[in-house]
């Protein structure tokens, strides 16, 4: 267990110190969300209606931006090889890195969401709901990001192709995440959407460490 937390702690330090990009991802999130209204128009009613979708898409794109860093530096500087000799199996190493990645990339986004909510004219109740869906859904996005990152870690320009692989996999999370905020005629669907969202995230959390570890092992051969 000490090994697990040591790795989480190390990754958090690396992400938050100089050269880490936790700050950049957060800025990107806020800016993308803030820029969309320029393309949509200042109609407050329309923005409020599209608000959850805009927030979710900004979150998705921001997390895509961050994922190349997950394994690439450790793979290239030989750290991954040495980490595999630890008592901790590779699957747990992946979980530790995912946890650190979620804490340093997704949580700041969630904390900054009220800012975007104000810009997009969402009321307090909706803002809280969006935050809840992001809390439940971002772990799944991080999981698929990890699989994409692991599969492309051996490719030199892998950062370009990973999003292409990850986006289709993220569709269920996107659908359920946004639908959980439905109002009006389809409001009854909102609670089942939340359940599906949670279920899907749990499933992702279960199989991602194995898929990611396998991809990393195949890549190291």
């Amino acid at each position: 267990m000490r090994a697990f937390w040591a790795l989480v702690q190390r990754d958090i330090k690396l992400a938050t110190r100089i050269g880490g990009d936790a700050m950049t991802v957060l800025l990107f999130y806020v800016m993308v969300g803030a820029i969309m209204p320029f393309a949509i128009g200042p109609d407050k009613v329309l923005l409020a209606k599209l608000g959850p979708a805009i927030i979710w898409i900004s979150a998705l794109l921001s997390l895509l931006l961050a994922l190349d860093r997950l394994f690439r530096t450790d793979h290239e500087d030989g750290s991954l090889i040495a980490m595999r000799q630890a008592r901790l199996p590779l699957e747990m190493i992946v979980v530790a890195k995912l946890l650190a990645h979620w804490l340093t990339n997704a949580v700041p986004l969630i904390v900054a969401t009220p800012l975007l909510a104000i810009l997009l004219n969402l009321d307090a109740g909706q803002t809280l709901k969006v935050i809840l869906t992001l809390l439940i859904g971002t772990p799944a996005l991080v999981c698929f990001g990890a699989i994409g990152a692991a599969v492309t870690v051996t490719i030199k320009r892998g950062g370009l192709i990973a999003p292409i692989l990850i986006l289709p996999l993220s569709i269920p999370t996107l659908i359920f995440g946004v639908s959980a905020l439905s109002t009006g005629a389809i409001e009854t669907a909102a609670s089942s959407a939340l359940l599906f969202l949670a279920g899907f995230t749990l499933l992702a959390l279960v199989f991602t460490p194995f898929a990611t570890a396998l991809a990393l092992k195949m890549g190291a051969e």
Binding site: V151, L165, F196, M218
Partner: protein, 261 residues
């Protein structure tokens, strides 16, 4: 068994399945099947087309456009089947490190993408008269579009990897991840769709359909399946030969290096 990428004689002490799956032996026996497969494929497709045009009824609502179904449905089915072939090949790559498994997976991907694209195009043509546009976010069409994206992503991966041997196993992992996700994606898309309910055109009712519809459907179904088999074999043969050429080139380079050293 030596794993040198050179032209080995087929080891005689392997079982039947191992022998037919050995790349060298595969080249030999698949060649014999090319002409018969082509004949069967062309015959089935011609017969099916004839039946589709002249021997089946027009729909009382959609008129003659319903005949597109005879191309759309087999292609839609094959787009799924192709992925299933890739999944089996992926398991072969990961569990047995079988060289033919890699080749099979790589050859199947562009075929799968093409069948999916044809399914999408024919679906759009089929629906256009009813919808008024070429695209409606129908549950099944949307899932098919997502399948196309997944196929294209996998094809892009094959093209990006330099080390093709390692690529096979890594792509196998993402193929299996996709396999787990595809049912979930379909479910979520259907669910999303029922919230927003556009008109569905794709009524293919099942065993209660009359023979005049079922027969052309089955014939076209088998025709396209044999087409897949034929194209898959051709593509696999091309890939095996391509890899051999590369191996020989590398051998030459190494020999040159040793001479100069």
């Amino acid at each position: 068994m030596s794993k040198n990428a050179s032209i080995d004689p087929t080891p005689q002490d392997l079982g039947f399945f191992s022998r037919i799956a050995h790349p060298g032996h595969f080249l030999i026996w698949s060649k014999r099947w090319l002409v018969p497969l082509t004949i069967i494929t062309v015959a089935l497709l011609l017969f099916g087309t004839y039946l589709a045009f002249f021997n089946s009824p027009a729909d009382y609502q959609q008129g003659d456009t319903v005949r597109i179904m005879y191309v759309h449905v087999p292609n839609a089915w094959l787009s799924q089947f192709c992925y299933a072939v890739m999944v089996v090949a992926s398991i072969g790559s990961l569990v047995w490190r079988h060289p033919l498994a890699d080749v099979s997976a790589k050859a199947a991907a562009p075929l799968g993408a093409t069948f999916t694209a044809v399914a999408l195009a024919t679906g759009a043509l089929w629906g256009a008269p009813t919808w008024g546009t070429f695209w409606e976010w129908d549950g099944r069409m949307t899932s098919t579009l997502v399948m196309l994206f997944i196929y294209l992503g996998i094809i892009a991966l094959w093209r990006t990897f330099e080390d093709q041997a390692r690529a096979g196993r890594i792509i196998a992992v993402i193929t299996l991840v996709g396999a787990i996700n595809i049912p979930i994606i379909k479910f979520s898309v259907e669910w999303w769709n029922t919230l927003h309910q556009p008109a569905s055109v794709f009524r293919v009712d099942g065993p209660t359909m009359p023979m005049s519809i079922l027969l052309p459907l089955f014939v076209m179904f088998f025709g396209f399946s044999f087409l897949f088999l034929l194209l898959h074999f051709i593509s696999m043969r091309a890939e095996i030969l391509r890899r051999r050429v590369r191996a020989l080139e590398r051998r030459n380079a190494q020999r040159l290096r040793e001479q100069q050293a």
